[in-house]
């Protein structure tokens, strides 16, 4: 139709665009990913400096090691998936590690995080061991959700890992409610709600931000804008594809775009947003520009909607290389190799643990649903 014709000049253009790297990504690795036309509002250095001021040497090493662990963990996920040890949907986070690592490092242990189905890294960083994670992926009783959740539903109540949620946008009101509870009981506990950039179009996102701003709830909303929702480029799904602009005039919530490939910047920006929340200054909306190297899920070859050049441009700004470039003396090749061995070993141990763990007992089919439900399960129900 005329409209679609017009507006899909956009969409079509997009499909063509995929042939050569996108403008905002064709620039060389050193320049920030954040689009030039944004330079005015972009303030990466400020947040990098916050991080550099607060972080000790060991913290920097830890940031690197965390990214490496997530990377190694998920490389083995892919392998185990091919071997059918893991089934169903499996969404890899490879490429986006700086976002989860930087932001979670900036939080306090008591803070809560709510993530989507792309939750392996967030879980590893928010207190779930590689063993519990792999066991969950294998559907074993020793998994972080007793094998009942699966890849998309990692939980650990005591460390504040609130999932692992499969419905796009569905967890945003819950994160808002947890922030409401924190405020109600004056816990100074921050709720952090991660979501993909496509989730920002869901109605509940808007309903939640309105309430969070109205009641000044201690919630930080962060969209990991990896440029695609499955195969749909952000500009084909969002009328305003500079997502950080969508909350200030609509909800009086400051929106800030940042470089999701820079772990220091992610640390600094979350540190500031969490402080605002803790001090009762209300919610913040962060847009981290990042990229997933792999397909949307294991079944997506990621061929129809983007091309190898585009991927390689982003791989050249890998967050680990970036951090190493920032601290060459500290992050020596020797140290990195040592860390790599550790991480590989940790993951290998986790896989072994998962392998050897038992599946849940058949009786588990009927547990963890109700605390008290007379006559449950009803007659005629198996088991």
């Amino acid at each position: 139709m005329a409209s679609s014709a017009k507006s899909s000049a956009k969409s079509t253009a997009k499909n063509v665009k995929a042939e050569e790297p996108k403008t905002e990504t064709s620039s060389s690795c050193s320049t920030p990913i954040v689009p030039k036309y944004d330079a005015a509002t972009y303030n990466g250095e400020k947040y990098r400096n916050i991080a550099k001021k607060l972080l000790k040497k060991d913290d920097i090493k830890k940031l690197y090691r965390d990214m490496l662990l997530c990377r190694r963990f998920e490389e083995r996920c892919a392998q185990m998936y091919q071997m059918r040890k893991i089934q169903g949907f499996c969404h890899l986070y490879i490429g986006q590690e700086a976002v989860a690592v930087g932001t979670i490092a900036a939080l306090q242990p008591k803070d809560l995080i709510f993530q989507t189905y792309r939750d392996h890294a967030h879980a590893l960083l928010k207190g779930i061991s590689a063993r519990e994670c792999f066991a969950e992926l294998f559907g074993k009783a020793t998994g972080c959700s007793k094998g009942k959740g699966g890849s998309m539903h990692f939980f650990k109540a005591e460390t504040g890992m609130m999932g692992g949620n499969g419905i796009v946008g569905g967890h945003v009101p819950m994160a808002t409610g947890a922030a409401f509870a924190s405020r109600y009981n004056d816990k100074k506990q921050v709720s952090v709600c991660y979501m993909g950039e496509a989730a920002v179009n869901q109605g509940v996102f808007h309903e939640s931000l309105n309430m969070a701003s109205l009641w000044k709830l201690p919630c930080v909303y962060i969209t990991e804008n990896n440029l695609y929702g499955m195969g749909t480029a952000v500009e084909r799904a969002s009328a305003e594809d500079q997502l950080y602009k969508r909350t200030k005039d609509a909800y009086r919530i400051p929106g800030i775009r940042c470089d999701g490939m820079d772990v220091l910047e992610m640390y600094g920006i979350m540190y500031e947003a969490a402080e605002r929340a803790r001090n009762g200054e209300g919610p913040t909306f962060l847009e981290a520009i990042t990229y997933r190297y792999r397909g949307h899920s294991m079944s997506d070859p990621a061929t129809t909607y983007r091309n190898k050049d585009e991927v390689s441009v982003w791989q050249r700004r890998d967050p680990m290389a970036r951090l190493q470039a920032d601290y060459p003396e500290l992050l020596t090749e020797a140290l990195i190799n040592a860390m790599d061995e550790e991480c590989k070993a940790e993951v290998q141990d986790a896989i072994k643990f998962a392998e050897e763990s038992p599946f849940p007992d058949a009786s588990e089919l009927w547990t963890d649903i109700y605390l008290d439900y007379p006559g449950y399960p009803g007659p005629g129900q198996k088991g």
Binding site: K148, F155, G163, A178
Partner: protein, 327 residues
């Protein structure tokens, strides 16, 4: 015992429970300054302040989801939906988050929340505002569904629901809010069991919420007076869990059963009860179970058509005569 309205009974339950536990808050559209669209929360803003009695924007998915999130971290929210017609907007939050959180997490969370408000027809409200949608919740494992028919049941069951560590969908009735009944002063709790509202020998009439007082009991009177048929009226009160034992006990006595529900007939709660009873009481049924429902149509506004569509005592009388082979 003092006589109070169904509305006052609910109001007492809310007030007593909020008094008892400061982790309970009431949130919903118009619950505070307006005192509730149906005045169930009358006086609660004044009693507990706007920290605990909170007017929400008109965003059902948002504020029901917010309540679920608060329960997720241990609070005990009571969320009022103005009517369950609007709760459809929050159904994803209820089905995909609330009902599954405990199971998906391997039992790490309890979700102690009550989502309450009126269901059913209010009278000339048209197709979008008159629906009885309990089947949307009864179908779902992980939540409970309670539907009281009297002020006494309303108070005792709401207090039980608020103290329940499982999530409870608590469906009231706009047309019952003004009905009166005896309610003891002071504390009492009721279990999720079926209640025999009237004893009888010849036929079991199963009905809940408004259908108990508006259809089943009046029909029972007519049948006894005019047909000499003695009816036992059983109110499940809770649809999930559902106390089949009490229903079956009654059928073993009467060998006949009529189910009256306000909802539509297809894939309804009444259909499920009929299927289960036909299976579990097969040898005791001398006649097939007959169901009364509102007609299988979007409820029209026209007064005569609405009346034609909704279940009436005369429909129940007919059905009972049928199962007694007296028609």
């Amino acid at each position: 015992m003092p006589e109070i309205t169904y509305r006052e009974a609910l109001n007492q339950a809310l007030s007593e429970e909020m008094e008892r536990d400061d982790q309970i808050f009431l949130m919903g559209e118009e619950v505070a300054v307006y005192h509730g669209a149906y005045k169930v929360s009358q006086g609660l803003l004044e009693q507990f302040g706007d920290k605990r009695v909170i007017d929400s924007p008109i965003t059902e998915a948002g504020f029901v989801g917010l309540g679920i999130g608060a329960a997720h971290v241990g609070m005990r929210p009571v969320i009022e939906v103005m009517t369950f017609n609007f709760a459809i907007l929050a159904l994803d939050q209820i089905i995909n988050n609330l009902a599954k959180m405990r199971s998906m997490s391997g039992g790490q969370y309890t979700m102690p929340i009550v989502i309450r408000g009126p269901g059913g027809a209010g009278g000339s409200l048209g197709a979008q505002h008159s629906q009885s949608l309990e089947q949307q919740y009864v179908h779902i494992p992980g939540i409970k569904v309670v539907m009281p028919s009297t002020p006494y049941d309303a108070k005792g069951l709401l207090k039980t629901a608020i103290r329940d560590n499982d999530p409870v969908i608590f469906i009231e009735s706009e047309k019952l809010y003004n009905t009166k009944g005896e309610v003891p002063t002071g504390e009492y709790l009721l279990p999720y069991t079926a209640d025999v509202k009237k004893e009888g020998a010849d036929v079991t009439i199963i009905a809940w919420s408004r259908m108990v007082t508006a259809c089943a009991l009046p029909a029972a009177e007519i049948l006894e007076a005019e047909e000499g048929i003695s009816c036992e009226v059983v109110d499940p009160r809770s649809l999930s869990p559902l106390d089949f034992d009490t229903l079956i006990k009654s059928i073993k006595k009467t060998n006949r059963c009529v189910i009256v529900e306000e909802a539509w007939p297809k894939a309804s709660v009444g259909a499920w009860i009929a299927a289960e009873l036909s299976l579990r009481a097969f040898d005791y049924l001398d006649a097939p179970i007959v169901r009364i429902n509102q007609c299988d149509v979007p409820l029209p506004y026209a007064f005569n058509l609405e009346e034609l569509s909704l279940p009436k005592p005369s429909d129940v009388v007919e059905a009972v005569k049928k199962v007694c082979y007296k028609s």
